[in-house]
């Protein structure tokens, strides 16, 4: 009996260790590459070398931080709107069964739409309204996938709040909206935080819409990174540095939200 348990425990630890190595290796490799000179990059086995910051200077010169700032701006506006509209909508769906199961299904169905369907209308509209040099088209495009996800995710959190809380607030003389804002909302604040960070990473990571809709000279981070994607080995170092700049903030964010994500999803976000 104990022998079987031990073997199982060993297999478990082995699997997790292997997974950790597989996850970490590519990222470490890129981090190392960002410190190599062009000549050193031609030797993939080289691990001990004198690191230099030339690549980092190059990406910073190329304005990668400005691109990151624009990405953060787009993501912040998208998420701010999604959280306000999404939490109101999710509450109406959860507590008042607004729209019935059709809304729940509709929200999920929005996830099905391939970005390729929506992107061309956004593009032609941007030209027609003469806003193709602004961030408005890309923010609307990001809303099309961030808003449904945040709403869907928050329904699960609102489902977990006892209805009696709101009823008590109503008895105490709160209006329906005040009961929502002052009594129910604080209960799901951790969930809203996690949903907001998750929505932020979704917007931050999108490249397809950015490639087509962002102003060409003031593009967002994923598109800026891919601009280092040339067939010349010279650019690999700079590209590696750019990748690290995009990866670090989201990995830090993921550390803080993973527990809430598990909790939110097991709280009902996976139900239809």
């Amino acid at each position: 009996m104990t022998k079987g348990v031990n073997a199982l425990a060993a297999a478990r630890i082995l699997l997790l260790s292997a997974a950790a190595v597989v996850v970490a290796f590519p990222l470490l490799w890129v981090a190392i590459a960002s410190l190599k000179s062009p000549a050193q990059l031609n030797d993939p086995g080289l691990i001990l070398f004198l690191p230099n910051l030339e690549n980092w200077a190059r990406v910073l010169e190329a304005g990668i931080l400005n691109a990151a700032g624009r990405s953060a701006f787009v993501a912040t506006v998208t998420v701010a709107f999604s959280v306000v509209a999404g939490s109101m909508g999710a509450y109406a769906i959860s507590a008042y069964k607004a729209g019935g199961s059709a809304t729940r299904f509709g929200i999920l169905a929005a996830q099905v739409l391939p970005p390729a369907v929506l992107v061309f209308p956004f593009l032609t509209m941007a030209y027609a309204l003469n806003i193709n040099n602004t961030y408005v088209p890309i923010i609307f495009a990001h809303l099309s996938f961030v808003l449904p996800v945040i709403t869907w995710f928050l329904i699960g959190f609102f489902d977990a709040v006892p209805r009696s809380l709101e009823e008590q607030a109503r008895v105490d003389g709160f209006s329906r909206f005040a009961a929502f804002r002052l009594v129910v909302l604080p209960q799901v604040l951790p969930g809203i935080g996690a949903a907001a960070i998750f929505g932020f990473t979704l917007s931050w990571n999108d490249m397809f819409y950015g490639l087509i809709l962002a102003p060409p000279r003031e593009t967002i981070l994923p598109v800026a990174i891919s601009a280092f994607n040339t067939f010349r080995g010279v650019e690999l170092g700079a590209m590696s540095a750019a990748i690290i700049i995009a990866v670090v903030p989201v990995v830090i964010a993921s550390f803080f939200i993973q527990r809430r994500l598990v909790q939110g999803i097991s709280g009902g976000a996976v139900k239809f």
Partner: protein
């Protein structure tokens, strides 16, 4: 109360209407015209011409086939691997949060960065992995003919197995304890308890996870853009990449929109069939 209910829902509905509903309707209109980004004149209404054209286009079907293979390979591997890792993580007590955060990290990274990382890592001359393989006498071209699509699938596995793990871990943690304990008291082996107790209870979450992952994998674009750009030949041209090329590089928005709607029709058919099945098995 009705006013409050719809009032609360109004912002979501309005935003969805502007950001999803209108573009969707407009895209359908585009698919019925000969709209080109380059021509200044008003587009002509051409009816179903674009649809007839793309449906007889071998390159579009090739892209559909590539995408189907890509999704099937990636999602199958992710499901098996994700389930194993989720089960292991559930039991993991030591350094619990750090382990979880680390193993979930890839799904938060921008896909273009993942694609470029692997393009570099697997590159024949500059990459670490081919160098290691060469040192033990194996020569394998990750982006060569008949390998490239598989490589793309495995990039997907690297990035998105964590998503599977996240959903399945949440599913495992919401399974009630009693049935498992009952099975243990009855002397069931770990394997038997897993197959007869855990797996049936996990099936709804598993179904949703596979569905969400498949739908997302269908949209693959960044890896192709970062690594192969559809090559060698058209071996790794996926549907999203094909649409991008038709619409943005060749400016044929009408045709591109038609392709997107063909994809949408196929996906919706697939989902409706799946839901029918699910409802029938739930009714049983």
């Amino acid at each position: 109360m009705t006013r409050f209910r719809w009032g609360m829902l109004a912002p979501v509905l309005a935003a969805t209407g502007v950001a999803v509903g209108f573009p969707l309707a407009y895209a359908f209109y585009l698919s019925l015209t000969d709209y080109k980004l380059t021509s200044r004149g008003a587009p002509d209404f051409v009816g179903l011409e674009n649809y007839l054209f793309v449906l007889s286009d071998a390159r579009m079907w090739n892209a559909f086939g590539n995408t189907a293979t890509y999704v099937a390979v990636a999602v199958t591997v992710q499901t098996v691997l994700g389930l194993a890792i989720a089960l292991a993580l559930q039991k993991q007590q030591w350094a619990r949060d750090v382990t979880r955060a680390m193993l979930l990290a890839p799904m938060f990274i921008t896909p273009i960065a993942v694609g470029l990382t692997f393009r570099f890592l697997l590159n024949d001359q500059l990459g670490a992995i081919p160098a290691v393989l060469r040192s033990i006498g194996i020569s394998y071209d990750f982006f060569g003919p008949s390998n490239a699509l598989l490589t793309l699938s495995f990039i997907d596995v690297w990035q998105w197995t964590p998503f599977m793990v996240l959903l399945l871990l949440a599913g495992l943690e919401s399974i009630p304890r009693q049935p498992l304990e009952a099975a243990r008291v009855d002397g069931a082996s770990a394997w038997y308890a897993f197959r007869r107790v855990v797996l049936p209870l996990l099936t709804p979450v598993l179904t949703v996870a596979v569905l969400l992952r498949s739908l997302d994998a269908l949209k693959v674009f960044e890896y192709v853009y970062a690594t192969t750009r559809g090559g060698p030949g058209t071996e790794t041209e996926t549907i999203q990449f094909f649409t991008y090329q038709t619409g943005i590089q060749f400016f044929r928005l009408g045709e591109a929109s038609a392709v997107a709607f063909v994809l949408l029709a196929i996906v919706l058919t697939f989902i409706v069939i799946l839901f029918r099945r699910l409802q029938r098995s739930a009714a049983r």
